[in-house]
């Protein structure tokens, strides 16, 4: 939570500069497929949303959520209530897409990594944190969402949109249509917020959560499809072959002794990644909540895999890894190295993915949240970016 608070400060500063304002000189990197420019006119060229036309950010939303909402609009359990004017605006647009266009739209949107949306609302963050406890069960302690529960990520979303949706759920404008079970659940949850101030408070707290910036919300297959659609700048070839991996002498332990990377290759320095809760409904920070070292390592490596995929890289392109493990009682306070390795060997040194990184693994006293046992950071090359 301390880390979150720090992020909140940083976000508050960044947010005050407006969506794209300030000195950021990087030109746009996203290109919508030809038939999907309708999406970007309102939701923005990078799908980061536009309050001026009531269009929410779609960046960082997973494909399953996008698919579900598009279905909701098409089938009419969203966007038909008279008090949901923006939903009613979205509905005909969702309906007019062909099945292929719909899938392309979802793939395109899901390929856009999360971006920090600017802060436009003010609320009591401390009160919001207390209120958020009940939200975390489904949406995750970091607002990262939970596919199993069909709970979307909240952290990357614009605050004005979150507040408006909470108001609409609370008023029964959303979550009342037959067939919208998740909406009904959300409606019941929103009804527990006593007033508009509570909505602002909880949204203000959500905005302190760290969106997994740059983390993709789609599976790898979708990324590949997106790439072939020309959504991201297309890879022209892989440079992984130019990376020289020196094996460990006289050992089959699945790491490299050293990895050599040519000078003209683009490197991605990926932040430490921590696990998503294994069972968000379990008591917070309990063992069931996070899972054991193996489960956490699986979660972490899978998240890194997705994140790299969104950036045009992959686990096969990882050249360096640092693993931080927390000790566990079953090992009398030592790290569960074997548990970590069971997960690791599913991703590295397999027939499908034989490339091995140089790696260090260390035990640390603790990670950001109680019960977290695994954090992994990697450096990866990005194929096709030789200068």
């Amino acid at each position: 939570m301390i880390r979150n608070k720090l992020h909140w400060l940083l976000l508050a500063v960044a947010g005050s500069h407006g969506a794209h304002a300030g000195a950021d000189p990087a030109p746009v990197r996203v290109t919508a497929p030809e038939t999907l420019t309708y999406c970007t006119v309102c939701h923005g060229v990078e799908l980061t949303g536009n309050a001026a036309v009531d269009a929410p950010s779609l960046a960082g939303l997973p494909d399953w959520y996008l698919e579900r909402q598009m279905r909701a609009f098409r089938e009419g359990w969203r966007g038909t209530h008279a008090d949901d004017p923006s939903g009613m605006e979205m509905r005909p647009q969702a309906q007019v897409l062909t099945a292929d266009q719909l899938q392309a739209a979802i793939r395109f949107a899901a390929s856009i990594p999360a971006r920090t949306a600017p802060v436009t609302l003010t609320g009591d963050v401390r009160r919001g944190e207390a209120l958020y406890d009940s939200c975390a069960a489904c949406h995750g302690t970091r607002g990262e969402g939970n596919a199993a529960l069909l709970a979307p990520p909240l952290a990357p979303q614009s605050d004005w949109y979150l507040a408006r949706q909470l108001e609409r759920f609370r008023a029964g404008v959303r979550g009342s249509a037959p067939g919208d079970e998740q909406g009904a659940l959300m409606r019941a949850s929103a009804a527990t917020l006593p007033d508009d101030q509570a909505i602002r408070d909880v949204v203000a707290y959500v905005k302190t959560l760290q969106p997994n910036e740059g983390e993709p919300s789609m599976n790898k297959a979708a990324v590949v499809t997106a790439l072939t659609l020309g959504i991201a700048t297309a890879a022209t070839g892989t440079v992984s072959a130019d990376v020289i991996r020196h094996p460990l002498p006289d050992s089959d332990f699945p790491i490299a002794q050293a990895v050599e990377v040519p000078a003209d290759v683009t490197l991605l320095y990926h932040s430490g990644t921590t696990p998503s809760p294994a069972d968000p409904k379990a008591p917070r920070f309990s063992e069931e909540f996070w899972g054991d070292t193996e489960a956490q390592a699986n979660s972490v490596l899978s998240k890194i895999e997705q994140s790299l995929a969104a950036k045009g890289s992959s686990l096969a392109d990882v050249v360096k890894m640092v693993v931080f493990l927390v000790g566990v009682p079953e090992k009398h306070g030592a790290m569960d190295f074997d548990g970590f390795m069971r997960a690791y060997t599913r991703y590295f040194g397999t027939e499908e993915q034989p490339n091995l990184p140089a790696r260090s693994a260390v035990q640390v006293a603790g990670l950001a949240a109680p019960g977290m046992l695994v954090e992994v950071e990697v450096v990866a090359v990005r194929p096709g970016t030789r200068s």
Binding site: A21, P27, V41, E46, N50, P85, M88
Partner: protein
């Protein structure tokens, strides 16, 4: 202490109430009015070759963008126009047989017959006589004009809450309303209510004025007027005056609130003009005369102010393209600019958020007969308090076989949202049902139609911005200023005339004059 109602006050009041003609005549006699009217904004004057070696990118091929391209290339600037849509003209959109109406979620194809008179001006439809810059361009570009009938005294006033819901002729309503008002006032004058500031001569002249104004009889009573149209006769039989309307009914209807005075408002006073064959002839005129590249279907992805220029990234055929220019003139709707990556100054972006996008909905109907002509209606507007707001009868194609009329022109965000949410078929049905209350048999004349919700149109998502007084005071100047000394926001959105082409032209002139000043003074950076 309130001042007494003096003769001068009264004459001012008469001038205001009776229109500006009397005041104009008096002022002319006093030599107060120049023989040639001054334009509201000077036409921009860019010295020849003043732009040589300088590159300009124009974002958006609406009227303001086209004006910039036309003027700047003549001054030697190297101009490129980028337009997101597959057509040029922005909101100057005329649809004809086979045209696509690119509304978000509701794409339509215009099914009008292929005939030169059968078109619908979805955007600007009339040009006031004092919109001199636009009219000058029409002259310069060879765009033929014809008179657009705006107010039509023979058209209908319809109000389901008055006159038993039966439409009455506009001339009858206005003649009777004025007659009753004049009669009431004459009674006040007779009781010498104004005796203090008026002498007997004044009072007599005032009575004469009222008789003329309201068409009162010699006893200063209103007993109906030929101005309302005869009930019968008038040619070979003796004319019979209409029975005046019940004055309480006149008061009960809402027509007097602003509609009755519509034709006296600044931009609605007769005569108005339209381009022969559709108002997009103006766009075609610009395109014919502009030599610079106008790239259509090239949506802008990012606008970045650099130290030495402006970098614009756009897509063409799915590929990102980059373009560098020294200056940028941008008429992209400001509510859509937030969705385009940019590094415009913070206060500039913040200012935009204080201006709300406008909403506007219109329907055009192809009628198999020009039934309105049989009702003595040639052009002009029928007013109704019903959801459709107005009916317009075409000013052109008189006595032709068919006609395209406007079946709805909706004022107010709520009404516009209501129509926008309907499917095109529902919109048509709603418009037909309301029209039926004014013109019995209306439904049977409708062959097909188009509906345009400007706040749902692709690349627009709005029109005619709503500026509050406060926004004008706090943010207007900010948005008029060039960001970084290089990026001008232009268009009717940065004018006091949102929704009018003259506002777009004037905004472009203002911005280009500013550029010229900077170029002439060599101050390219702010």
């Amino acid at each position: 202490m309130p001042k007494p109602f003096s003769r001068r006050d009264f004459l001012n009041w008469v001038g205001a109430a009776g229109g500006s003609a009397a005041v104009y005549q008096a002022s002319l006699a006093l030599g107060l009015i120049p023989t040639r009217a001054e334009a509201h904004t000077p036409r921009v004057s860019l010295p020849p070759a003043s732009g040589a070696g300088r590159r300009v990118v124009v974002l958006g091929a609406g009227i303001s963008g086209l004006v910039c391209a036309y003027e700047l290339e003549r001054a030697g600037y190297a101009v490129t126009v980028l337009e997101a849509a597959r057509r040029v003209g922005g909101r100057n959109l005329t649809v004809r047989s086979g045209d696509v109406i690119d509304e978000m979620g509701n794409p339509q194809v215009c099914r009008f017959d292929d005939h030169p008179d059968l078109y619908f001006n979805c955007g600007p439809a009339r040009i006031p006589a004092h919109h001199s810059h636009l009219l000058n361009y029409c002259r310069e570009l060879g765009v033929a004009l014809e008179v657009f009938v705006n107010v039509n005294y023979h058209a209908w006033v319809h109000d389901s809450g008055a006159f038993g819901g039966k439409p009455v002729r506009l001339r009858q309503y206005m003649a009777d309303a004025r007659g009753f008002m004049a009669e009431l006032l004459s009674k006040a004058v007779n009781r010498q209510a104004f005796d203090a500031p008026f002498d007997a001569n004044d009072a007599e002249r005032l009575m004469a004025f009222l008789r003329a104004y309201g068409d009162l009889d010699e006893n200063n009573l209103y007993r109906g007027s030929a101005r309302a149209g005869y009930a019968s006769g008038g040619m070979v039989e003796a004319p019979q005056l209409r029975q005046p309307l019940d004055f309480r009914e006149i008061l009960r209807s809402d027509f007097w609130q602003y509609r009755m005075h519509w034709g006296e408002s600044e931009d609605q006073a007769a005569p108005l003009m339209q381009a022969v064959g559709g108002n997009d002839r103006i766009v075609e005129g610009f395109v014919r005369h502009i030599r610079s590249p106008i790239l259509i279907h090239a949506p802008v992805q990012s606008i970045l102010l650099r130290g030495d220029g402006v970098e614009v990234v756009y897509t063409r055929e799915g590929q990102l393209q980059s373009l560098r220019a020294d200056y940028c003139f941008n008429c992209i709707p400001k509510h859509l600019l937030h969705g385009i990556r940019n590094n415009l100054p913070r206060e500039y972006l913040a200012a935009m958020t204080h201006v709300q996008r406008g909403k506007l909905f219109k329907i055009g109907l192809q009628m198999k007969e020009r039934f309105w002509e049989r009702e003595n209606i040639y052009g002009g507007i029928t007013w109704t308090e019903a959801d459709i707001g107005q009916l317009w009868y075409p000013s052109h194609g008189t006595h032709g076989a068919k006609g395209v009329m406007l079946g709805a022109y909706v004022f107010g965000d709520d009404g516009n949202d209501r129509f926008a949410r309907m499917s095109p078929a529902q919109r048509m049905e709603t418009a037909i049902r309301s029209g039926e209350r004014i013109h019995p048999g209306y439904r049977d004349y409708v062959e097909n139609g188009v509906s345009i919700a400007w706040h749902r149109m692709n690349h627009h998502m709005g029109c005619s911005d709503h500026w509050t007084e406060e926004a004008r005071r706090l943010y207007y100047r900010t948005l008029q200023q060039p960001a970084g000394g290089r990026h001008w926001l232009i268009g009717d959105q940065v004018s006091y005339h949102p929704g009018w082409q003259e506002g777009a032209v004037s905004s472009a002139f203002h911005a280009m004059a500013d550029l010229n000043r900077r170029v002439q003074s060599g101050a390219q950076q702010v």
